[in-house]
């Protein structure tokens, strides 16, 4: 720090120091947050505000009072939606964490394969995915009809209907939020903390209840938020199982009725409920600290001794995977069955590969797949860039408006996809500053933008959860070794967050590939996504070819999962770890 000789120089040095000196000064957070807030404002918050504005445009808040009156659709819908969402969180939590436990705590042959399969249910193609649940669990489903035949009863056995059906669909499609978050967090936990609990005499169950689950809080909170909001905004499942007194159904019905302000009121109410839940969860999470305070880096987990654990885990995992993959198998069944060959039979009576031949022989069969791939990748890249930074800002920096930033990210997840798309169209149908003066609708960019806006919360949440476990002194160490804030951030913090970031990116990517409700409103002929292609088949009831398309999508997701699993574990480390476990 040699003092500059001339005053000009020293003044410039002082300024430079102040600008670069950054990360520790009180206003550094604002410097970092300002562009993020601007992005959020321009691309997410401000478009979404349109919904709220519309809800109060005609007759003020009178629409909202409908939620307060004791009888009436509004309040019943709200309550039904809340009940479904809360139950979904619990169910997905149980299934997701259990799967994470089985797959991340034990090593056995075929585990990697199962890990790659496990995200597939989250990526079930729209509509065809929903139909597959019908074909499995509803009154016309394989399972109830199979049981009916088995027991010789009059009516199908164990047929899911109504809310139970909705919950089944939600559990199957959303447990990966929990599974991924929990497994990333489990990998990042300080193993010695768990050992300490065992040492103090706690049994396995108690250790999970009092140490592991609480330490997973950030991950579970993140997953709960996502599941809660997804359930709240879920549309297809209530539709399929005939639960029409839900918020989303009311939004749709009101739009069909032409009562746009009321539809917006419902949408805004959804947003408000989600924000309330978000704030609750933030408070809950903020009460405790989850960063390891241990000195140094602890050795990996102790070895598994329990022979029951060794055998039970793989068996349970395989069984669970079979159950979870059943909807995918159903799609495969449809894809390989002959048209009209599956009516009252339990499973199809005739099989064919015609459906695949049909779609593959089309000249542009792969175009939608490529489109989806490209747009999802773009959006995911954006989500990672912005989401990781926001996660860092919200978790690590002290500045005014942290909660607002958090809410800003999540709001697009809390609203139904249709509403998000409509808002984006309105915001970007003419040029504005954020679109660089260009009208984005009708161009390629609107779809990646929509995916970005919709799926930013996934990356943000997952990153934030993994950041909660990372000791900030690691970053400090890098800083004291001379690394600039950026360098320390990228080489240490982001690197350590990576499991969480990968999880978020995977979720964003997978959801991007499957996105339908928003896509259908904004796609162009050159950007037909795979979901729209599938839907076109469904629409004309070419259910076989639609399923075949769906299988291609499933395959794509599987391949991505397989390779990302490789990436995440870094091969070498994984095998070594497994070696140690089984020693």
């Amino acid at each position: 720090m040699t003092a500059a000789s001339s005053t000009v120089l020293s003044r410039r040095a002082a300024l430079a120091r102040r600008l670069a000196g950054g990360a520790s000064s009180t206003w550094f957070p604002y410097l970092l947050v300002a562009p993020l807030a601007l992005i959020l404002w321009g691309y997410v918050v401000q478009p979404m505000l349109a919904t709220f504005v519309e809800s109060v445009s005609e007759d003020g808040v009178s629409n909202y009072t409908k939620f307060l009156s004791s009888s009436g659709v509004a309040r019943t819908s709200l309550i039904t939606s809340l009940v479904i969402s809360a139950a979904s969180v619990v169910l997905c939590g149980v299934v997701g964490v259990a799967m994470a436990f089985l797959l991340k705590r034990f090593s056995f042959a075929g585990r990697r394969l199962i890990e790659a399969f496990i995200l597939v249910p989250a990526a079930l193609p729209p509509l065809i995915g929903a139909i597959s649940f019908q074909l499995l669990y509803s009154e016309i489903g394989i399972l109830p009809r199979g049981l009916q035949r088995l027991f010789g009863t009059d009516s199908p056995v164990l047929a899911f209907d109504g809310i139970a059906g909705v919950l089944v669909v939600h559990t199957f499609t959303m447990y990966p939020f929990f599974y991924l978050a929990a497994s990333a967090a489990l990998a990042g936990l300080d193993p010695s903390v768990e050992e300490a609990a065992y040492n103090l005499g706690a049994g396995r169950v108690r250790v999970w209840r009092t140490v592991l689950l609480p330490m997973l809080t950030p991950a579970l909170v993140s997953a709960s938020l996502l599941v809660f909001m997804t359930s709240l905004a879920s549309y297809t499942a209530p539709l399929l199982f005939g639960v029409d007194q839900t918020m989303t159904m009311q939004i749709y019905i009101n739009r069909t009725n032409g009562d746009l302000p009321m539809a917006s009121t419902y949408a805004s109410a959804l947003g408000l409920v989600s924000i309330a839940f978000l704030l609750l969860m933030r408070w809950y999470e903020g009460r405790r600290s989850y960063m390891s305070q241990s000195k140094g880096v602890s050795a990996r987990r102790r070895e598994i001794s329990n022979p029951i654990g060794r055998w039970l885990a793989p068996v349970a995992s395989v069984l669970a995977t079979l159950v979870l993959l059943a909807p995918v198998a159903t799609i495969a069944l449809v894809a390989f069955s002959e048209d009209g060959s599956w009516t009252t039979e339990i499973i199809p009576s005739a099989y064919t590969v015609d459906n695949f031949v049909t779609i593959l022989s089309e000249p542009k069969a792969f175009q939608p797949i490529l489109n989806s791939l490209q747009m999802s990748l773009l959006a995911t890249a954006g989500c990672v860039a912005v989401g990781v930074l926001i996660a860092y800002a919200v978790r690590r920096l002290r500045f005014f408006g942290r909660s607002l930033l958090d809410i800003g990210v999540m709001i697009a997840w809390a609203l139904p996809g249709t509403v998000v798309a409509i808002n984006l169209i309105s915001a970007f149908s003419t040029g504005n500053t954020f679109s660089l003066g260009q009208a984005l609708i009708g161009t390629f960019w609107i779809l990646p933008l929509a995916y970005f806006v919709r799926f930013l919360p996934l990356v943000f949440r997952a990153s934030s959860a993994s950041l909660a476990l990372i000791d900030p002194s690691l970053e400090e160490a890098a800083r004291s070794l001379g690394a600039s804030w950026w360098r320390a951030f990228l080489s240490i913090t982001v690197r350590l967050m990576l499991p969480g970031v990968i999880v978020g990116a995977l979720l964003a990517f997978v959801h991007g590939v499957g996105e339908f409700v928003a896509s259908v409103l904004i796609y162009t002929s050159s950007t037909v996504p795979i979901s729209v292609a599938i839907n076109n088949r469904m629409y004309s009831f070419e259910i076989g070819t639609a399923a075949a398309y769906g299988m291609l999508q499933v395959l794509l997701i599987f391949v991505v999962m397989w390779f990302s699993g490789r990436l995440e574990n870094g091969g070498r480390a994984a095998s070594r770890r497994a070696e140690q476990w089984t020693n």
């Binding site: 720090m1 003092a3 120091r17 670069a20 000196g21 950054g22 990360a23 520790s24 000064s25 305070q293 241990s294 000195k295 140094g296 880096v297 602890s298 050795a299 990996r300 000791d471 002194s473 690691l474 400090e476 160490a477 890098a478 800083r479 004291s480 070794l481 001379g482 690394a483 600039s484 804030w485 360098r487 320390a488 080489s491 240490i492 690197r495 350590l496």
Partner: protein, 360 residues
């Protein structure tokens, strides 16, 4: 030349109640000086170090490096090398990568860096561990990696927070010699936190003794040891017996006190001690400056052995001399006669030229 200056620095944490973790600390450290912070657990040593490193901002006060205010300068602009009390090793990097990190940031050429990394690992006796993952090291090995990582970048200032606490005595001694050598050779200023007084004594140019966030005394090891500023410092540095004895006569630098068994003895006293005949003086006597005598030795203080502790080099006896004079006295004796045992009556003789009067 003054290198580091803390001016009335205080740090208050939101949650630690009303008390400040660091309370109005003012001190200056010269360039190339080896300065040690010593004090009981929780007294604010780490907090002080972290403010110097730039990870905390003082609630009030200023920090200057070479006259320049750095109170809010970014940590990476300070060119300090820090060993964290909890190591803060990068878990995703191998040992070598950890050590090389600072060099990479400094854009040291690859060949140069790998040479320096190897050298640094050798200095902490970790040759051959370069490709290990951090989690595959023992606690002490991890601590040494943290040390190597800070030393290898040859910063202008070293901040060492108990860098040797998990090492065995042998290695600790070797390593501290190494640290001292590196620090001297490069003229690095070092701020060192330790709870090992022998270490502090052996290594430091000067020591600041802290308690409850406040500095109690700053001085060379000998000053701090032989002329403690107050009873806390006397008791904290080494073992010391602080006896309350009546003053029989006093001048500017000496105070004569009466011994319980009869007889007088002179003790050194700090400037402006303000004691007069008739006052009670607190006199600090180090265990090793008390010799054993027969229980009936007329010049000796009489007492009864209450405990006997063998520590290798010396045996520590605890002797009860009666509540009034200071309760129990500890004596370090190299060769304790075999017949002495707990419960025995015994005489203690103070050596006059090592006694020192302390403030309460």
């Amino acid at each position: 030349m003054i290198d580091v200056e803390l001016e009335s620095v205080s740090k208050r944490f939101a949650r630690s109640g009303e008390a400040a973790a660091v309370d109005d600390v003012t001190l200056t450290i010269g360039a190339g000086e080896f300065f040690t912070l010593l004090g009981p657990s929780g007294c604010g040593k780490t907090t002080t170090l972290r403010m110097v490193a730039g990870f905390y901002f003082p609630t009030v006060g200023h920090i200057r490096f070479g006259g320049q205010d750095v109170t809010r300068l970014a940590p990476n602009k300070r060119d300090t090398g820090m060993v964290f009390q909890n190591y803060a090793l990068f878990p995703h990097m191998t040992v070598s990568q950890n050590v090389a990190y600072g060099l990479k940031v400094r854009k040291v050429s690859r060949a140069d860096a790998s040479r320096r990394v190897a050298e640094a690992l050798a200095q902490v006796h970790l040759d051959g561990y370069g490709s290990r993952r951090i989690e595959e090291l023992s606690g002490g090995q991890q601590q040494r990696v943290a040390l190597a990582r800070a030393l290898v970048i040859r910063p202008r200032m070293l901040l060492l927070d108990e860098p040797l606490s998990n090492l065995d005595a042998k290695l600790r001694e070797e390593t501290r010699t190494e640290i001292r050598r590196i620090q001297r050779d490069a003229g690095t200023t070092a701020i060192y936190v330790t709870h090992d007084q022998a270490e502090a004594m052996a290594m430091s140019d000067r020591i600041a003794v802290m308690q409850a966030g406040r500095v109690q005394q700053i001085g060379t090891p000998r000053e701090v040891y032989h002329q403690p500023a107050n009873a806390f410092v006397a008791r904290f540095i080494g073992r010391s017996n602080v006896l309350s004895l009546p003053v029989t006569s006093a001048d500017a630098t000496r105070v004569e006190v009466a011994l319980p068994g009869g007889g007088h003895i002179a003790a050194g006293a700090p400037d402006g001690h303000g004691l007069r005949a008739g006052d009670t003086a607190l006199v600090s006597a180090r265990p090793e400056h008390i010799a054993l005598a027969g229980p009936d030795d007329p010049d000796a203080i009489r007492g009864r052995v209450t405990a006997l502790e063998f520590t290798g080099m010396a045996t520590h006896l605890t002797v009860d001399i009666g509540a009034e004079e200071g309760g129990e006295v500890t004596v370090a004796a190299v060769d304790v006669p075999d017949r002495v045992d707990v419960g025995d009556r015994i005489g203690l003789r103070l050596s006059a030229d090592r006694l020192w009067v302390v403030r309460p």
